[in-house]
Symmetry: C2
Amino acid sequence: MDISRLARDIRKGDRKALAKGITLAENETAKASSLLRTLEPPGRAFVVGVTGPPGTGKSTLVDRLVGLYRRRGLRVGVIAVDPTSPITGGALLGDRVRMERHANDRGVFIRSMASRGWSGGLSRATSQVIQLMDAAGFDVVLLETVGIGQSDIEVVGVSHAVLVVLMPGLGDDVQVSKAGLMEIGDVYVVNKADVEGADALVVSLLGLVRSMRSRSPPVVKVSALTGEGLENLESAIEAIRARFEEGDLEVRLRSASGMIAQTARAVLAERLAHTSRERVNELALMVVKGEITVDAAAGLLLK
Amino acid sequence: MDISRLARDIRKGDRKALAKGITLAENETAKASSLLRTLEPPGRAFVVGVTGPPGTGKSTLVDRLVGLYRRRGLRVGVIAVDPTSPITGGALLGDRVRMERHANDRGVFIRSMASRGWSGGLSRATSQVIQLMDAAGFDVVLLETVGIGQSDIEVVGVSHAVLVVLMPGLGDDVQVSKAGLMEIGDVYVVNKADVEGADALVVSLLGLVRSMRSRSPPVVKVSALTGEGLENLESAIEAIRARFEEGDLEVRLRSASGMIAQTARAVLAERLAHTSRERVNELALMVVKGEITVDAAAGLLLK
């Protein structure tokens, strides 16, 4: 494969070339890494992570955001990340429907990503795809998770702004706060504003974030389905994007730091997987013989 | 906390002490590690991993296995692993119901585990809990996943025997094989034997595993609900347990290697998380300035 030619085509915004680059990121991160060195992504893309429990309407909301940004003339990439197996993946993402809807809009590029390997590999690939979309000239990248857990929180760690999407009737707020969602949001979205309990959820969220964090992020009530309240969400996101555009280091460093940390972790895991099978077996034998504990063996492996 | 006293109580099979040890594994792996050094787990516990897509009846099957082993007079530990957030966890596991059913049986210990942190932390904690149960004198540990994806496959990598539970109507077999489930099973269980398509699924699974692997694992059809076919499953598992009891290295090394590798990976991730925030920020600044790519920064971080 001719990396410099691929890089040139991606920079031109060629969709097939971008798709090829993304496939590299998914399957051959080392080659994707070399592609990115050639590309020198400009860092112009604003990355919005969208996470939250399943069923809260994240996909519909992402569709709304795509519409909002397209009306502003911005090019939008969407990465739908599903860290689960392909068995549940297809059903949860339903991105084929979405891809059809935007099929004729050259300013939108949608890609869903799942992983067959360790989830760390997915984090690294996601970082690379963001950089590829950036290099291909996309202004905004929406990073959507399927919302089934902890790995989602990991995935959105590479964003400039994180939207946590919730809805009334999810169970008590203590659960939400336990899930780690209270620490990561820049904007809290109460979707399905028409459902009973929406106002109460807004109030309790405001209380929660105020009690837990020094600077309270905004809580906005919307209906992704009807469009109600979207202007409030838009202005909350745009406030962060404005800081991004001004070169605000806090916002910019956040995404870069997240990507570096996740990539480093993936690289470590890969190294461990490749170099030490014999040594692992040797140590496992000592564990089986009762000479050392598993933790001690892991310590020796890392020496 | 007096580690040597806790160790003594766990060795006696004291349930409160075991629970305390498990809480350490969940929250303070370093202390749990020191507890395990004191305990010197004997490696007598046979670990059976139970994985597969959601809705295939894994919990019911695990309950059946608990019954089978209890009738043989063996003590059984159950670890229900849910790598997702607490939001979905409680609903999926339903272990409270099960805990009530076995509440008066001192030969059964059930614990569900979820993670607030990175899923690697969960893997390490799971390894430690297996060793704690081993030290507390449990003969069999059943490690059940909720079946939502790739992290499940990781979790059962610490087992001596892996049961992959499937059922008719999950979608085509290609999806099952893509999910990585075809590589990891020692026994394939087609549950819900009475549902249409069960026989066809058995036939196609047999074809799949024969085409993919040099030694074909058994495929057994059961109904966890009615008990139909359980004797075939039992003998398939017991064939592996017999090898384990004979000290078969292949079986014994498998669990130990899995635990060492997962623990090492978790330790690496923890180190990375703790030592290098300043350095990450420094490198992130270089990325933001466009001086280096994220992958290059990750490389420098690991130097």
